[in-house]
Structure formats: structure tokens, C-alpha cells
Amino acid sequence: MSLLLHAGLLAVAVLAISLVNAFIVEADDGAALASLPKRFVRFYGVMLALLAFAYFGPFF
């Protein structure tokens, strides 16, 4: 449950970052909204990969 909660919280944070990023980079709202899923998945994927590396990797 705790892991799910943290994953959910991380998703909210990544969604906020992706939203701001999309609306800053894109010229119009349609393009910003259209690019949001791609940015979210890419960002979330990178974040999860970094977390996994930090957790299972050589640092701990």
C-alpha cells in the first residue's frame, strides 16, 4: 500500500511537471494537451528508472 501511495504521489508530481513543461514549450493549448501523455510517460519512465537504479543499484 505504501509503495502504491508513493507511486501515486510521484505520478501526481510528474503530471504537474509534464503539464507545466507542455504548456511552456508548446505554442497552443491543443498541441500542449496532445503532447501531455507522451511527456508524462517519458518523464515517469525516466523517474521510475532512476528510482529503481537508486534502490537496487550499487549505492545501497
Binding site: V12, L15, A16, V20, F23, E26, D28
Partner: protein, 341 residues
């Protein structure tokens, strides 16, 4: 007799740095004396007031082991560098000599108000720096031969510069307000909901302890960029009695600070939009030109990596400007371009 349209060769970066060191100095160099004096009085007055009501101990919350030469670079007061340096000369933040006292002297009760005032002074000086930068930029772009004949355009340009600074300040105070004032209302609502929501989640998870500079000096600095919501929340319930550490404190601090830092990005967007308008360019066309430039750069890089190394270089982005259809500074809003709301 009409006065000439103001022009200047002062580089925008010089005007900005002068303002950083001394509020109003950048405007003084540009000859904009009323704003120079008003900005100086407002920014330094706020800092002085904060200093006086807090007995100058707004930085004493910083843990002794974190007090270094550059410890205050991440504080919002860093936006008002001159006052911060003067403050440090008068009352240096140093490592206490010898063992740290178990019960250090209590700061005055008004120290939290003092911190809000000095932080506000730092952020407002950043807004003044934006204004000085844009003023220098438009005066550099103004052609002297337009001088006596183009007074109305000059006044319009100056109004666009002033409006941009007001929009940045509003966007700091209330996330999304800058976009709203620029006519980008759907974007404003999305920004407000996203950032205020993230900030509310953070405050909820950390049970309000994130709002205290006393407990979380640097996280407080980050969330100060979200402006009034952070300060109002702090005034309402920012200093709860700490019986135990909230279990989700780390996530809470992360969320609250993230909201503030993202608002910093949003403010850059507000400024960039206003800058395009003040320079007589179409902000939407500017964005599209930059996006096209990025795509070109990417494809050129791909071609370069897959084929020969002698790929053509993309043009510098600063030359990618899109003239505004009106050809002069005007009230450029999203209304000017269909589909930008």
C-alpha cells in the same frame, strides 16, 4: 516641441545586474528616474521593514552546520543582493564558536512576518530586474530616426513593458494570474489548479510544518515562489506545535517546494510572452519558430550522427523572431492567434 523617443545602448544584462545590486539602479542608468526611485523605495523599504520587525534574525533558523559562504544563495532574499550583502555585513550569519547552545535565545515573535517581508523584497526586486531588462531591450531596439514622430508607439511599448512586469508580479502572487492577465485564461486555470493542488497536497502531507521557515529553511525558500498562497497558509496555520514528525513529511516537503519551483518556470513563460509583445513580435509565432528550430536541430543532429559529420548548423535561436502583424508593440494576447487559449 516633442521629445525624442527614448533610445539607449545600455545592455539589458547590465541594467538587470545593476538592479540586482541596487534596486532602481538599472532604471537610473536608463534615465527612468520615477520607476528607479519608486522601485528603490518599495523594495528596500520592504527589506528594511522586515529587518526591523525581526531584529535582523531572519536567517538564524538555518542550521549551524549549513552556514557557509554561499548558504543564502537559495534564499528568496538573494533577489535583492545589495540588501542581503549589507545585512550580512551588519549582522553576519556565522558558525557559532564553540559548542552549539542547547537552548539558543528565542527570536522575536514577529520574526516570521519579518521573513515574509524580506523574502517579498527579494522576489519584487526580481520583478524590477525583469522590468529593467525589458526596458533596456526595447530602447535598444528603438530606432533613433523614429524619434519625434513615433511618440504614441513609444508610449505603447512602455505600457507593454509595464504590463509585463505587473503580469509577472501577479503570477508570483497567485499562480496563473499572469497568464490570466495576458488573456491566456484556459492556461491560467490549468496552472492554478495544478500548482495550487500540488501545494495543497504537500501542505496536507506535511501537516503544515512545510510552511515554517524555522523547521525547513530551504524548502520554505522554494515554496515562497508560489507567493500569497504560501504566505497566507503560513499566517493561518504555519507554525503548528510539533509533537512528532509527520510520517509523510518528505513527500509533503517535496510537493510544496515543487509547486513553488514550477511557478518559477511559469513566471518565465509569462515574461517571455510579454517580452515578445513588447518587442512588437507575435508571441505565438515566436513559439512556433522556436519549436520549428528545435525540430530542425534534432533532425540535423540525427542526420549528423547517422551520416557525415558535416551537417549544416541551425541558425542561432536569437535570430528566430516573428514580426507581429501590427509591426509595433501592442496588446498582444492569445486573442490574436486562434487556438492559443
Amino acid at each position: 516641441m516633442e521629445s525624442a523617443r527614448p533610445t539607449s545602448n545600455v545592455p539589458p544584462s547590465v541594467a538587470t545586474i545593476l538592479t540586482w545590486l541596487l534596486p532602481g539602479a538599472g532604471h537610473a542608468v536608463l534615465g527612468a528616474w520615477p520607476i528607479a526611485l519608486l522601485g528603490f523605495a518599495l523594495v528596500e523599504g520592504l527589506y528594511l521593514l522586515g529587518y526591523l520587525v525581526s531584529d535582523g534574525v531572519v536567517f538564524e533558523f538555518l542550521d549551524p552546520e549549513l552556514r557557509g559562504r554561499f548558504a543564502l544563495v537559495l534564499a528568496p532574499e538573494f533577489g535583492n543582493l545589495g540588501a542581503l550583502l549589507l545585512h550580512q555585513l551588519a549582522q553576519p550569519l556565522t558558525m557559532p564558536a564553540g559548542p552549539v547552545p542547547i537552548a539558543p535565545p528565542l527570536p522575536p515573535a514577529s520574526v516570521h512576518l519579518g521573513a515574509v517581508l524580506t523574502a517579498t523584497s527579494g522576489v519584487l526586486n526580481m520583478v524590477l530586474m525583469c522590468h529593467a531588462h525589458l526596458t533596456a531591450l526595447v530602447r535598444r531596439h528603438a530606432r533613433p530616426e523614429q524619434g519625434a514622430t513615433d511618440q504614441k508607439a513609444a508610449a505603447d511599448t512602455q505600457r507593454a513593458v509595464d504590463r509585463t512586469a505587473v503580469q509577472v508580479a501577479a503570477g508570483w502572487m497567485v499562480p496563473g494570474a499572469g497568464h490570466w492577465l495576458q488573456g491566456r485564461k484556459r492556461r491560467a486555470l490549468l496552472v492554478a489548479v495544478a500548482l495550487l493542488g500540488v501545494f495543497a497536497i504537500g501542505t496536507f502531507l506535511s501537516q503544515g510544518t512545510n510552511l515554517s521557515r524555522e523547521h525547513h529553511f530551504y524548502y520554505w525558500s522554494g515554496q515562497a515562489l508560489i507567493g500569497l498562497p504560501a504566505f497566507v497558509a503560513e499566517a493561518l496555520r504555519g507554525h503548528p506545535p510539533l509533537m512528532s514528525v509527520p510520517p509523510m513529511i518528505d513527500a509533503g516537503l517535496f510537493f510544496a517546494t515543487l509547486a513553488g519551483l514550477l511557478n518559477g518556470l511559469v513566471l518565465i513563460d509569462v515574461y517571455a510572452w510579454g517580452e515578445s509583445g513588447a518587442l512588437g513580435r507575435d508571441p505565438v509565432a515566436d513559439r512556433r519558430a522556436m519549436a520549428a528550430h528545435r525540430r530542425e536541430s534534432k533532425s540535423a543532429a540525427k542526420r549528423g550522427s547517422s551520416g557525415s559529420r558535416s551537417g549544416a548548423k541551425a541558425p542561432a535561436s536569437k535570430h528566430l523572431v516573428a514580426p507581429h502583424p501590427a509591426g509595433a508593440a501592442s496588446d498582444v494576447t492569445a486573442d490574436d492567434a486562434e487556438g492559443t487559449r
